[in-house]
């Protein structure tokens, strides 16, 4: 129905029934359909909620538009030689304000300690407490789990009002990047004590030290942000007001409201994009590429689906390197991607870590020597047939039957994904033949999709994704980490491909690979002094997953199309944390950004970033 309505709207646009108008300047007006659950930035993990936190409270550091760390609430910082102590020197004179803009108190180091204490207090159920565990702050996890009851034993300390110190159990080279998460944000201690679980229930039960004050918060109606005139960096806040108006059908109505001059921003879904290209091509701009997520295909090594799909036969097949390579080489990733993007070449990834995510000594992580010959493992039909011939021989000897049933899973309410798997099925079966594989498309439920498919092991092959948690390539190894049952000592299986379960079997080939892979990851993690060496080791580990066709890299996040009065290339840029959700640094234009302007800004940004 939504698709039909979108097309209907497009037809209306086509016959030009909607006049354009000019919006008020100084106020960025948008529609939104997803309401925030809470204003409490210390507990929420959803982007919807974090947008609020990012704009009303600052972090210790932030990122500039090129993705470089810049001072924010901390003016300077340093780590001890052993990398176990991080000290942040706070900016003086930063104040807390209430929602009426009245000054409450000065922000001090104690507010960061109060924030961390709140996050680690189990009864407040912070969904982002795990970020603190990842940062390896001394006794953080033990305090959360109740094993340590005295918060003074947790590795955070206000040395004085303007000096904050974190003590880590192990060196964490990427620690600074982790402080851009909500779990490291400050909170005015007395308020947190007073409000307890009610902190952030409304705009009066939270204090503000960021670029904006949330003057109005009426769920399912309006969120009005007003510039904090006393903000320490007010000169870099250019949008005076941000008025977000609720509309459950925002995706459908925003484009038309934009043309009427009622809103200053609208996403353009694929359904209406063609009509916009015909009627308003000059207004279509593209969002900035988002490095937060990477998409890749995983093979399930411990399938749990129904017997009719013959999971036992799949297990034999997937443990064969030539079989996996035959699928990987037969897969034309660009062809499948055309179902959801019109510029697949720009999205394609040959690594799990997205390009431009991390670099060392001026060299991008994905250009490190380990990845030098990685291209040879991708789409090549001749090689695919060679692998097939070898796999048939080996698998027949191992007792497998053909065609091997391959359950390819997708989300039932995602039409683009449904189209993508259709293309992939047709393509894989045409290259490899239906005598070799039978691709079975399996539609997972719209709600709780992952728990019913990937995490339940109900797939043979599935497109998965992972989001970076910190500025280090280690973050991209997390999905494939060993998951061991503490009671039995056996592997429960990571929820991405369950490959670690093979360590408890007699499958020597896969076991040998896993032993080498986990050893490489451990070696990389242990290297905390020589960053170049560390990155090279992580690159080697990642290359092992690809060279052995355990994981098939696919694409980065799709940068959607939009009509907007904001130049997206002015905003903060970071593939983790909440900084990229800030409106700071961005200007509001009187007219919509044109496609030409958008392209110019992109080129300018790219040029600056390359320098």
């Amino acid at each position: 129905m939504k698709k039909a309505l979108a097309i209907l709207l497009s037809l209306m646009l086509l016959i030009g029934l909607v006049p354009a108008a000019v919006a008020d300047s100084g106020t960025l007006t948008t529609y939104y359909s997803g309401e925030v659950s809470t204003l409490n930035y210390l507990v929420s993990s959803t982007e919807n909620d974090q947008v609020v936190g990012a704009n009303i409270v600052d972090t210790l550091v932030e990122y500039n538009t090129l993705g470089e760390v810049i001072p924010c609430l901390a003016e300077t910082w340093e780590s001890s030689e052993d990398g176990l102590t991080w000290t942040f020197h706070l900016r003086k004179g930063v104040k807390w304000y209430n929602c009426f803009g009245e000054e409450v108190a000065e922000l001090t180091a104690a507010d960061f300690v109060a924030g961390l204490k709140y996050v680690l207090t189990a009864k407040y159920e912070s969904a982002i407490a795990s970020n603190v565990f990842t940062a390896q702050i001394v006794n953080a996890e033990a305090y959360y789990n109740g094993e340590v009851t005295d918060f003074d034993q947790v590795g955070v300390k206000a040395v004085d009002d303007y000096t904050l110190q974190y003590n880590l159990a192990n060196p964490v080279p990427y620690f600074v990047s982790m402080t851009t998460y909500g779990s490291f944000m400050p909170v005015y201690g007395p308020l947190a004590e007073e409000q307890g679980a009610n902190l952030g229930v409304d705009n009066q039960s939270i204090y503000y030290c960021g670029a904006y004050i949330l003057e109005t918060f009426e769920p399912q109606s309006e969120r009005l942000y007003v510039k904090n005139q006393n903000y320490w960096d007010a000169d870099n806040v250019f949008i005076e007001k941000i008025d977000q108006l609720y509309n459950a059908e925002a995706a459908t109505l925003s484009p038309i409201a934009a043309l009427r001059g009622e809103v200053d921003y609208a996403d353009l879904d694929n359904d209406i994009l063609d009509d916009w290209r015909t009627n308003h091509p000059e207004l279509i701009t593209q969002a900035r590429s988002n490095l937060q997520y990477s998409y890749f295909y995983c093979f399930d090594f411990a399938p749990q689906y129904e017997e009719e799909y013959d999971p036992a036969n799949w297990v034999i097949a997937v443990n064969n390197s030539n079989f996996r390579h035959s699928i990987m080489s037969a897969m034309d990733r660009l062809y499948g991607m055309t179902a959801e993007a019109d510029n697949p070449e720009n999205l394609l990834e040959n690594t799990i870590t997205p390009p431009a995510f991390a670099s060392v000594n001026g060299k991008d992580f994905t250009a490190l020597p380990a990845f030098a010959n990685i291209d040879q493992y991708f789409y090549n039909t001749e090689k695919a047939l060679e692998y097939k011939a070898k796999a048939v021989k080996e698998l027949t000897a191992a007792g497998a039957t053909f065609p091997v049933k391959l359950v390819l899973t997708y989300k039932s309410n995602d039409s683009d994904w449904a189209n993508e798997v259709q293309l992939e099925k047709a393509q894989l079966e045409s290259v490899l033949g239906t005598d070799y594989i039978e691709v079975i498309l399996y539609a997972g439920p719209a709600d709780n999709f992952l728990s019913q498919t990937r995490r339940a092991g109900k797939y043979s092959m599935q497109k998965c994704n992972w989001g970076a948690d910190y500025a280090d390539p280690e973050t991209w190894t997390d999905p494939f980490a060993e998951n061991i049952d503490s009671e039995t000592g056996l592997h429960k299986g990571n929820s991405y491909n369950f490959i670690d379960k093979m360590l408890d079997t007699d499958n020597e080939e896969t076991k040998a690979f896993l032993t080498a892979y986990y050893a490489k990851v451990a070696e990389a993690k242990a290297e905390t002094n020589d960053i170049e060496k560390r990155y090279n080791l992580f690159a080697e580990a990642e290359a092992m997953l690809i060279e052995n066709a355990i994981v098939i890299p696919f694409r980065k996040s799709i940068a959607g199309y939009q009509v907007t009065k904001i130049d997206v290339y002015e905003g903060e840029y970071a593939p983790f944390g909440i900084c990229n959700l800030k409106y700071k640094f961005q200007h509001l234009q009187d007219e919509f950004v044109t496609a030409e302007q958008n392209e110019q800004s992109y080129q300018k940004w790219l040029e600056a970033k390359t320098k």
Binding site: N40, K123, S130, A248, L450, Q452
Partner: protein, 312 residues
């Protein structure tokens, strides 16, 4: 009658109890992943802690007992996802009046237009007004409501020079949502009152009234309309209360802060307390609607009585 009402009320309470128990048990069968947006990156201790805070680690009977204990004290609990930390009743109480206002206006408008339209169609059966009315009814029932809702919103706001979003402070803003919400009911009332009136007008007592020389107006309103209205009367309270519950699509399209779509929303979010609070409200509305319908039938039709009939 009082005895009947007491018995009916007691049965309703029992029904309500079973509805709540069934829904309570069902929502607890949902995957635990749905309770945690950050499930992928949470530790087992975090997940266990979350389940403990929600009481989901308790046996079902204990959870049920806690729920009914709270309910008896008027405590529906707090929302966990929809508006984290806010009491369920505080959320619902701001939404119900808006839906009541919108629903009342819509029902009133539907009756003012739909009933005379049906009567007129019945009086002019087979003539132009009847054909026009039938065409309207067919159109409304055949075209998906979402399509004409959208047309009314886009062209109506254009014509009236008002914004796409509903503004409760601007009386003009009420017109189009009320009209949209009413169209289906107008068609429904017109169709059924016409049908009942046409059926009644062929009955013997009407012929007798005509033979006796009663005027057409008197026959139409004192006899035909009154009898034709009886089956409608039973439906009216439920229709009113259903409209009050809210229209999912109208309220979504116009950003009206009512009840429309709320239940679906909180089910998606697995906000258990909100689900149970709304189910309780809707079940009460349904039960009260049925009871009021029965009462209205008695008021309109003297042949119907709650008193037990004695045998000879």
């Amino acid at each position: 009658m009082l005895k009947y009402l007491i018995k009916r009320f007691a049965r309703s309470l029992l029904t309500l109890f079973f509805i709540l128990v069934i829904v309570f048990v069902l929502v607890r069968q949902m995957p635990i992943e749905g309770y945690f947006p950050n499930f992928e990156k949470m530790t087992q201790a975090q997940i266990d802690n979350g389940l403990h805070q929600m009481g989901l680690d308790q046996p079902m009977t204990v959870q049920l007992a806690e729920f009914f204990k709270g309910l008896l004290h008027g405590d529906l609990g707090v929302s966990r996802v929809y508006n984290r930390g806010k009491p369920v009743w505080d959320i619902l109480k701001t939404k119900i009046p808006i839906s009541i206002q919108l629903g009342s206006l819509s029902i009133l408008f539907s009756m003012i237009v739909g009933l005379p339209m049906g009567i007129h169609m019945a009086k002019r059966k087979g003539k132009l007004p009847d054909h026009l009315g039938t065409a309207f009814i067919v159109l409304i029932q055949a075209v998906p409501a979402a399509v004409y809702y959208l047309f009314i919103q886009l062209y109506g706001t254009e014509l009236m020079q008002i914004k796409l979003r509903f503004d409760p402070g601007d009386w003009r803003s009420w017109i189009l949502p009320v009209l949209s919400l009413s169209l289906g009911n107008i068609a429904y009332y017109a169709m059924w009152i016409r049908r009942y009136m046409v059926d009644e007008s062929t009955k013997d007592y009407i012929m007798l009234a005509r033979i006796k020389g009663c005027g057409e107006g008197r026959i139409m309103f004192r006899h035909i309309f009154r009898n034709a209205f009886v089956p409608m009367a039973q439906y009216l309270p439920t229709s009113f209360l259903n409209t009050v519950i809210g229209s999912i699509y109208i309220e979504s399209l116009w950003s009206i802060k009512g009840m429309g779509g709320l239940l679906v929303d909180v089910i998606h979010k697995q906000d258990n307390n909100m689900i149970l609070g709304i189910v309780l409200l809707f079940a009460c509305v349904g039960i009260i609607g049925l009871m009021l319908g029965d009462l209205l039938m008695v008021l309109f039709d003297p042949r119907i009585s709650f008193a037990r009939k004695g045998g000879d």
